[in-house]
């Protein structure tokens, strides 16, 4: 059990936020869209608001719950985009190792990597305007080469294994081999990386929202909550502390979970199988 300490702590933290997000679909303590200036800047525990209220009198707990939803949705879809495009590209590149397609895919990857991630995001949102969708696209685009590179690297080593030769002797095509033999052997790796990218996605969404390029009001977002509370940190620190902790704990949870998964899958650590 102790060996999976990371996995357990990570899962608990991540699940807590997932739960908050799911619950927020049906119920939040207060309506996050409702503005109640008369009750603004209530301190935590003061009156009925557990985490206090923000400068518009909105309940911070409710906003964190709904913000979890935003973060998780953005990060999840962005990672999905990364995997959806990156994994097939990586598989294709590996199956044509050394060929034109491989070269093309890898050079395109290098090209995307040459742009600092935040720059891509800033440019995309500058062109299309800030919105959650564009944040997703911006984060997603950067995930594509991450997954393509990872997939290609790992797939290349799987291609070296003898069982691939056996499949080729059985007359299977590269595509079929990629799907039947390569992909299943990359799943662990992809799940681990997916978790890590997911947590990075949450950070990225927060960062983009912080500079105003993420989800737009009235949709609550942790990053925007931080940005909006900045000027009030000196007299209402709870405005910045709660969303900050929400980000840190979620990302921490996901990272621990990813690390734990990696340990769990690692044949060197896992006993029993080779």
């Amino acid at each position: 059990m102790l060996r999976h300490r990371n996995l357990v702590i990570g899962a608990v933290l991540a699940l807590a936020f997932l739960l908050a997000a799911v619950v927020s679909l049906f119920w939040t303590p207060f309506d996050v869209a409702e503005i109640d200036i008369a009750n603004k800047l209530k301190k935590p525990g003061d009156s009925i608001y557990l985490f206090g209220t923000d400068h518009f009198g909105r309940d911070i707990l409710s906003m964190i719950m709904v913000g979890a939803r935003t973060s998780i949705a953005v990060a999840l879809v962005a990672v999905g985009i990364g995997m959806l495009f990156g994994v097939p590209l990586g598989l294709a590149a590996a199956s044509r190792h050394g060929g034109v397609l491989d070269e093309l895919i890898m050079r395109t990857n290098d090209l995307v990597f040459a742009f600092p991630a935040l720059l891509i995001a800033v440019m995309i949102t500058a062109v299309f305007g800030p919105s959650a969708i564009n944040a997703i696209i911006a984060i997603g685009i950067f995930n594509i080469p991450v997954f393509a590179r990872l997939t290609r690297g790992a797939a290349l080593s799987v291609w070296q294994r003898d069982f691939i030769l056996a499949a080729r002797v059985a007359g299977k095509t590269a595509t079929r081999i990629s799907l039947e033999h390569i992909l299943p052997n990359l799943l662990n790796l992809l799940i681990v990386q997916g978790t890590i990218q997911f947590s990075l996605g949450i950070l990225a969404e927060a960062g983009l929202s912080y500079v105003g390029l993420g989800a737009q009001p009235p949709t609550p977002s942790w990053g925007r909550m931080l940005a909006e509370s900045q000027t009030m940190i000196s007299f209402a620190p709870h405005l910045a502390l709660f969303p900050g902790f929400a980000i840190v704990l979620t990302v921490l949870g996901l990272n621990l979970f990813g690390d734990g998964l990696r340990d769990y899958f690692d044949p060197r650590i896992r006993r029993g199988s080779r």
Binding site: R161, F163, L165, A166, R168, V169, H181, N185
Partner: protein
Amino acid sequence: MTLLHVQDLALSINGTPILRDIDFSLTAGQVLGIIGESGSGKSLTAFSIMRLLPPGSLVSGRIALDGDDLGARTETQMCELRGNDIAMIFQEPMTALNPVQTIGDQVAETVRIHRQVSRAQARQIAAATLERVELPNDQFPLSRYPHELSGGQRQRVVIAMAIALRPRLLIADEPTTALDVTTQAQILLLLKKLVAQDGMSLILISHDLAVVAHTADTIVIMRQGRVVEAGDTQRVLAEMQHPYTRQLFDASGHVPVRSAMSTGREVLLKVQGVSRDYPTPRKTLLGKPGFFRALERVSFELYRGEKLGLVGESGCGKSTLTRAILGLEACQEGSISIGGDQIAAGQLMPRAVRRKMQVVFQDPYGSFNPRHKVGRLVAEPFYILDQQPRGTARRAAVSAALESVGLTADDASKYIHEFSGGQRQRIAIARALITRPELIVLDEAVSALDVSIRAQILDLLSELSADHELSYLFISHDLTVVRAVTDRILVMKDGVIVEQGTTEAVFQKPQHPYTRELIAAVPVLEPAS
């Protein structure tokens, strides 16, 4: 005079007992052989002597060097001992050297740790030591990096590192397992010479009885963390008191019962003038890429029902030839015909031809997709058939194939990691047999197995070839095995077939000097008279 005395040595790692009741001693100037199957605890015995055990180890018992109890020494005192009085070399020459340091520095380091000498003096000693291990300085200057040397040469550097200070005891943990037969013979010779010159004692660890039997004065046979038999080599081999010793001995020289040599003259596989080039990186920026010719006009025939052997050292082109025959890579010249269908150079092999062949690979761990169940793995070759059996027919075929190699039908629903190496190789054979191919290519199919398991698989192959009238191409670098299972052999060197003929003829009267060299290098195990 006893140099090393090991008494009641026991070891556990994280609570798991690994070694028990290890007792042996070694006389100064003599060679002690430790033999045992993989996992029997040979390496850990050696590490216990060096006190380089993994974290979590708990040792008990007494290890004395010249009567001096090593267990009483502090770690610092052990450091003074290591490399100076006791040295050790490891199995893998490819990774035993620091890739980013020159060989000269690495050898000189041993000197500089233990002796107060200048850098230049240390390098002088290093140069002299490298000369002693037959790496002349004019060809192998001290400034070489490990990656610029071949495996055998690296192993010499490792030896030089170990003997630079002429230690009293050298422990060699499988020093030749990763090397070719000819290189292996050279290294063993070198070690023997050094023992003789320096009066050094040697512990030679190996899983190959034959290797040790020739070199060691005394041997220790280990199994499952215990010493099962120990004593004078001649005596142990003569008496073989423990059944396991006998078993090891038999397995090493195992000759499976063979069906009669096939007499058919129908050509099944005809390889004609096949050449295979691999592109090499361009030398200049815009220059044409060069070529490395891995196969040079290889021609031979394989008759139906024949067991043809292909021997040669690592890198001579055996696997390349396998891939060409299997149609996985097109060749640049020549043609291959199988059962009358001819495939010319540059052509891809049609499915109809491919399905006449199957293959068994060397590594029982790497040749199966760990994510699939055995049933699916064994049935994979069905894919090449136009009419793939489905449902019950398929299951029945899988069961039959598994049973034919001595497994049960239930094994189909297990994952591959639930099987041992020998069982996996059986599954590989079952996979090769399931489509009833006309030809099976066995590429080093038993090289990775322990002797006793290897014997079982060889028996299985010979049984199957009797039952199924198999034709196979048996590829190996191990001449003993090839001799035991083939009718005819091809000897390959640097992509060229230098000699071919019936197995016995080639072994009795090798024509080509290379073949002679190969045969001479094979350690032979003969019962002590």
